[in-house]
Subunit: 356 residues, 2 copies
Amino acid sequence: MADLAESGVVREVAGRPGQVGRPSLRVEPVSESAVVVAFDLRVESTVVALVGLGGEELWRREQEHARAKYTAKVAVKNLLSLTRQALRRAPEDAAWVGIGIAVPGIVDHADGLVRFAPNLGWVDVPLGALLREAISAEYGFVPHLAISNDADLGALAEHVRGVGADNRNLIYLSGEVGIGGGVIIDGRPMLGAGGFGGEVGHMVVNPAGVECRCGATGCWETVIGRDALVRAAGLKKDHATVEDVIAAAASGSERARRALEEAGDWLGIGLANLVNVFNPEVIVLGGHLRLLHPFASDAVDRHVLTAVPAAREQVRIEVPALSGDSPLLGAAEAAFDALLADPISVIADVAHASAS
Amino acid sequence: MADLAESGVVREVAGRPGQVGRPSLRVEPVSESAVVVAFDLRVESTVVALVGLGGEELWRREQEHARAKYTAKVAVKNLLSLTRQALRRAPEDAAWVGIGIAVPGIVDHADGLVRFAPNLGWVDVPLGALLREAISAEYGFVPHLAISNDADLGALAEHVRGVGADNRNLIYLSGEVGIGGGVIIDGRPMLGAGGFGGEVGHMVVNPAGVECRCGATGCWETVIGRDALVRAAGLKKDHATVEDVIAAAASGSERARRALEEAGDWLGIGLANLVNVFNPEVIVLGGHLRLLHPFASDAVDRHVLTAVPAAREQVRIEVPALSGDSPLLGAAEAAFDALLADPISVIADVAHASAS
């Protein structure tokens, strides 16, 4: 804490106005003192934000991209250009201490190697190494770079600042084209042998169903993923979204209504599985699952009631406190990690590098 | 360690015979110095063992019971009688430091309340309190009492002394009438909010299938549990076992052969789910699943190959090193916990209580 104060990234302030009794000092982060650039790399768009210490979004932008053409090379060029735009919004004298990226796939944390992102068509893409090279060429240094699975980062953000702030056992589900999962067990991210745990979207729930992009049949994402919903609703439009399915149901499409109902049923079946397997305090429905929830809550309740009693009594099903930005803010949180672990040396590194 | 040596439960011994160089001292547990009574409370039998420090089974017996008549009252009477029999085999001067019980159901660790053991028909049975009362009436004191889920204890034993001794992420599956799961994450038991995690037998994999005892439809145990296998094989015999199904297939029953094949397929589907969800280093097939494995290994390999690549590369599927006794030896391990945490006071308690 003394290190943080000395480096100017936190300040001591008096207790809240209106507080009675002797005013106590509180420590609060100085949001403008240090910033990170955070990305939520989605399948059909990239969200970028400049985030201050403490989690404040100082600037945010979403940019669409064509899924089929979004190769690693295109992605790196795009990330570099968005980094430039973000840094132009940085407060004067702010230290740029990190880049955080949420990726819809399986990532090797140590070096930012994307092992498998089926909905982007990426296999063993060295995103970390490529971006490091590009950032270094542009800025002459590379700040702390944190690349992780989007759902893992969503779980982190909701655990640190969201609906799971008081809970030690949390699951965050990212609903986008596919379904990802991030799991916090006893207050710590569940990594598994190689950091690849939590791939609940590929839990087989409907073996009589359709083939998944991963090669298995009847994965959870084949029945509650966005493409599954759009297909079941019979929408012909390019780039149709879950919002489109909901709109179609609202304007009387029986097929869209049935698609939502069936997806709600499958959502409930998978959630009951997670309750039985993990006995969590809270499951957070991120991405499009939070849109699906109002149409699915009866089915969800019905299925979760079939989970083993002791576990079902303890679980809450929630939508994210951070709305659609949980993975983005989790990426920011991870990008700040190095600063919080060793503030003086990170600030010094950045200052030194900026000056060079 | 000094405490343990002083209390006589470990001794220093010279290095192994044949060892070259200066002989080093090793510490080894004195198996006869302290004992526990361990139980594996199965659905149709109770296994009891007198276990010495270090995990040696000094005496072991299995006693069958009628499933329908096995109420909590009957169970407690039975456990007390088997405790008497076990203690008669205890080495002279051995300290009796604990009782450990593996239960096929969901248990509140703190007080040994069995919340739900569907295959015994037990709901909220205060096994811990009842047994404490009975032991106290008989012996005038109660040693450390550890009651846990059978699969959780199987996982503990295989992690401490079995096929997962070198691994930090392990899943143990108990195949009996139902299917239980014990999960070790990063070297620690995964408890979840209330200690009820790991109920993988109630993961729904076949929603078009049959109703489970738990009330849901198509749980994993409805397709790989013992009763499911016996039914699919068309065996009419009372108390038929998985061994009977295997024998029927070996003597030419096409129906039994197909039952084994189908169960193998479902085993593979569920294992792939666990690989995706947990990214474990090893999954241990306990109980009858180890008998099923030779007939299922092709199907298991085929399904596990559909798990996400990074996770499937890291997993081994194994049979238990401790054979059918992993839950029993895990119960012994848990019963020794108090001794290992505070040897002097536990030994003193027992000596005082025995003398009183």
